[in-house]
Amino acid sequence: MSNIHHDSAGLTIEHLSKMYNRSAKALDDLSLSIQAGELVSFLGPSGCGKTTTLNCIAGLEHPDTGTIRVGDFVLTDSAKKLFLQPEDRQLGMVFQSYALWPHMTVADNVGFGLRVAKIASSEIKQRVATILELVGLGHVAERYPFQLSGGQQQRVALARAVVTEPRLLLLDEPLSNLDAKVREQARTWLRDIQKRLGITTVYVTHDQAEALAMSDKIAVMSAGKLEQFDTPQAIYEQPATRFVAEFIGATTFLPATVVQHAPTLSQVSLSDGTCLEVRTALKLQQHQTIDLGIRSERVQVATSDHQTNVIAGAIRSSDYLGAKWHHQVETTIGALMVETLDYTSGNVRIYLPPEALMVLKAA
């Protein structure tokens, strides 16, 4: 199977806004740009505006203001009162329910967009066969959607979305209807196909693990605003806001005041006077109040080597999660979530590594 190459273009969104009613903003001045061939996830809780963004790109919803372009191809531009209908945008989309038309066979479903584009039937036949081979479903072409498993339906939906060689691929929580086991396979498979096709892809999900595993970049959204737009690593390790830190991973927050700032190791003090060392690239002012965040898996049980950043505590409750233990630890600075590989109980000393403490602006 040779790779299929396309001239792929990036997506640019500028100042996109949409009101739901007179008071509620569904989208609040969203701007970002996606490079050609990238897969970008829009991640956030329900109602954060990620699906609205996707629908605005697809033309299924009408933004109040803003522009959306793929390369030089303008999809919508409120200043010029330009709004292309969904059918004129030449996009591919996979829906949460897959939205396979129940009265058409798999081949008819996949070939629909080509028929609408008035492509010769011999070519349609060949392209449908090619794409069904690509998704590994050549043998079910003549079946009807309800005769397929969930995973197969999802692959038909993908085949239908990409067979027209669209400018963009839009994925609306395409894996959320699959069983946990199938979902992980589908994740890898989907990413593989996307890379092979080299198609610029927008992926909407509320599942952080999915977003972290699949994306070139993640756009974290909350209440219609873009909280952070960066690579998965940066999102996880250097969350820009408390919301991002809270939404991704299990994080404990500690309010603190800056005692002394240094380029490598800064000193901060917590509310009870405990002093901690923090390693951060951010410039901090003396006496500035900040939030410190720490992931539960980065908290360690202290050994005798640890001199600083050690806090005494007592384990209040423990949950067994199979691969690890998850503890609620009561300390002088408040409750902390801690993960260990082995069972631990009673009084413990906790080590908070300076590089694991994330500095966030106080809320």
């Binding site: 969904p86 939205a99 060689e165």
Partner: protein, 575 residues
């Protein structure tokens, strides 16, 4: 496998077109709805403000019609009659319906399934035919009346207000029965089990839990029956004529068509009063509909209803119920059929000794009758198709488009619910009178098809809506993103998926159009008569035989269509 790179030709779209075919079509549908509803309604509003008939040139606007009509004692007498008729037939009809529902769904009455089929028959039979059947069997010279008189027993007079109420109540009863029985079989059985656990006996559960649970369905059916009883023309017309009992519907008909009056102002004011009153009832109905969803615990699954055992009462009660259903449903229907096959029907002569096909021969030989049958079939068939497609378009516009005024269109499409057939007929008649250019329509069946479509727009709309709402809108969106216009989505996705719903709606409209005559009474001319209008004419000229033959032909057509419709697949769309 080698895949060659085939980039699709990318159309250079500089800007979106100024107008799209989609929008044009959507506007046309919306305007058609508005036009259809306004066409017969504005003449009535306008006429109510005019002193002379609306087709006269020198006319002045005034409000004097209103006080004049309200000061007319004859009008008040008609309103009084209507009130008695409405309340009587509603109360009796609803009570019988509830009784049947509880007996058939929640007790072990013998043969409940058969009885269920039997008592819904009046719903499928035209009220006109039912009225004929009653007149033939229970009228002053009716078969049963004479038979009882021969036995030396006291008899009754059907042509009185109680007689009208009785026959109408039996015609409306299936409505209540169907609403209540479906509500009864859908109610969550756990609610009754809970009462059982709490120590209640079955009869107590029935009275304290089961029946209160279906109260919304009962109330809804009650209001629906009230509306229907005001609209009903046939039973008061056939049975109330000799006793001169006038209700609003017969008053409108007689004043407008029989008396040759030019007092159009009175007619318009009375029509407006009726529409306003029904509007209030319809609003109440909508309100109840919303409440019903909140009230009844519909679990979706059909429960294995806990049955109340009747014990020793089972057979005696069964006998009484069968006797009642037989006398009130089978006897009148059997009567009309016997009448169709005999030159005269009398208890004094064994009808089976004088069987004849003469009435049917007449029906097919006489030009008038034959044309009426053909017209009815054309209106039901062709008109049914046209109306089904139009109603589907309206429902799709309101539920499946982004047309800016779709909410208003939906509201307007529902509005004919407040208009009885007589008033719609009157409205179309006046509209034709005031647009002489449209006079050509008057002599065709097309004006009937248009008027029927207007009258039953709400019916078709609500028959279509659930199926449309059941189809996930992601299917539309997926097709739009795949490159289809709104029209393309409707053609390639929605209409194919709605095929069963379209067929069901067509069947419903076919039967309804076949039975409809109250609108046609105002609009038909020689050559555009239908079965209903012809039956009434023939009946009035003292020929029950041919009228009965026409009735039997209509029943036969309805029966065949109902039988065919049972083959319509009801499978739901699987996704």
């Amino acid at each position: 496998m080698a895949a060659t790179a085939q980039t699709r030709p990318i159309k250079a779209i500089a800007k979106a077109p100024k107008w799209r075919l989609d929008r044009v079509i959507q506007w046309l549908i919306a305007l058609a709805v508005v036009g259809l509803v306004l066409f017969p309604t504005w003449p009535i509003l306008y006429q109510s403000l005019l002193e002379k008939p609306l087709y006269e040139a020198s006319n002045t606007l005034s409000l004097q019609n209103f006080p004049r009509v309200l000061g007319n004692p004859k009008i008040w007498q008609v309103i009084g009659n209507t009130a008695v008729f409405m309340l009587g037939s509603t109360i009796v009809g609803t009570l019988i319906g509830i009784g049947f529902a509880v007996l058939l769904i929640r007790t072990d009455l013998p043969g409940a399934q058969w009885l269920q089929k039997l008592i819904t028959i009046p719903y499928y039979v035209s009220a006109l035919i039912l009225a004929f059947g009653w007149a033939v069997m229970y009228g002053p010279q009716g078969f049963m009346t004479v038979m009882v008189r021969e036995w030396g027993l006291p008899t009754w007079n059907l042509y009185t207000m109680p007689g009208l109420i009785m026959v109408s109540a039996l015609y409306f009863m299936p409505l209540t029965f169907m609403y209540c029985s479906s509500s009864l079989s859908m109610a969550d059985p756990q609610l009754e089990s809970a009462a059982r656990i709490a120590g209640a006996k079955p009869l107590r559960i029935l009275l304290r839990i089961t029946i209160p649970l279906i109260r919304p369905a009962m109330l809804y059916a009650l209001v629906l029956t009230m509306v229907s009883s005001i609209e009903l023309l046939s039973i008061p017309l056939v049975l109330g004529e000799s006793a001169q009992i006038d209700v609003l519907s017969t008053f409108l008909y007689r004043t407008a068509l029989v008396s040759g009056t030019t007092d159009y102002g009175t007619l318009a004011v009375v029509a407006i009063m009726v529409v306003l009153f029904i509007s209030v009832l319809v609003m109440l109905q909508n309100h109840l509909m919303k409440q019903e969803r909140r009230f009844v615990s519909v679990s979706g699954k059909i429960s294995r209803a806990r049955v109340l055992h009747l014990g020793w009462l089972r057979w005696p009660l069964g006998f009484v119920v069968y006797l009642f259903a037989g006398l009130t449903i089978l006897v009148p229907l059997g009567g009309i059929i016997l009448q169709a096959f005999t030159p005269f029907l009398s208890a004094l002569i064994n009808p089976f000794s004088i069987l004849t096909m003469d009435n049917f021969k007449q029906a097919f030989e006489f030009e008038t009758y034959r044309v009426a049958i053909i017209n009815s079939l054309l209106i039901a068939g062709v008109g049914g198709v046209v109306a089904t497609l139009f109603m589907a378009a309206v429902a799709l516009l309101t539920y499946r488009s982004k047309f800016p005024m779709r909410g208003a269109v939906k509201y307007i499409a529902q509005y004919p619910r407040a208009f009885p057939g007589t008033i719609i007929g009157l409205g179309f008649l006046w509209a034709l009178l005031s647009f002489p250019a449209l006079g050509g329509l008057r002599n065709t069946i097309w004006i009937l098809i248009i008027a029927y479509t207007m009258r039953y727009l709400p019916l078709g709309f609500s028959a279509m809506s659930p199926s449309i709402l059941q189809i996930s809108d992601e299917l539309d969106r997926a097709a739009r993103v795949s490159g289809t216009t709104w029209l393309g989505v409707m053609r390639h996705i929605m209409l194919p998926l709605l095929r069963p719903a379209l067929l069901t709606t067509f069947t419903l409209l076919f039967i309804t159009f076949l039975k409809e005559y109250s609108v046609a009474l105002f609009l038909f001319t020689r050559g555009s008569q239908v079965i209903g209008t012809t039956m009434l004419e023939v009946w009035a000229q003292g020929g029950p035989g041919p009228a009965a033959a026409l009735a039997v032909i209509q029943l036969l057509i309805i029966g065949v269509v109902r039988w065919l419709s049972s083959f319509i697949p009801t499978v739901k769309v699987r996704e």
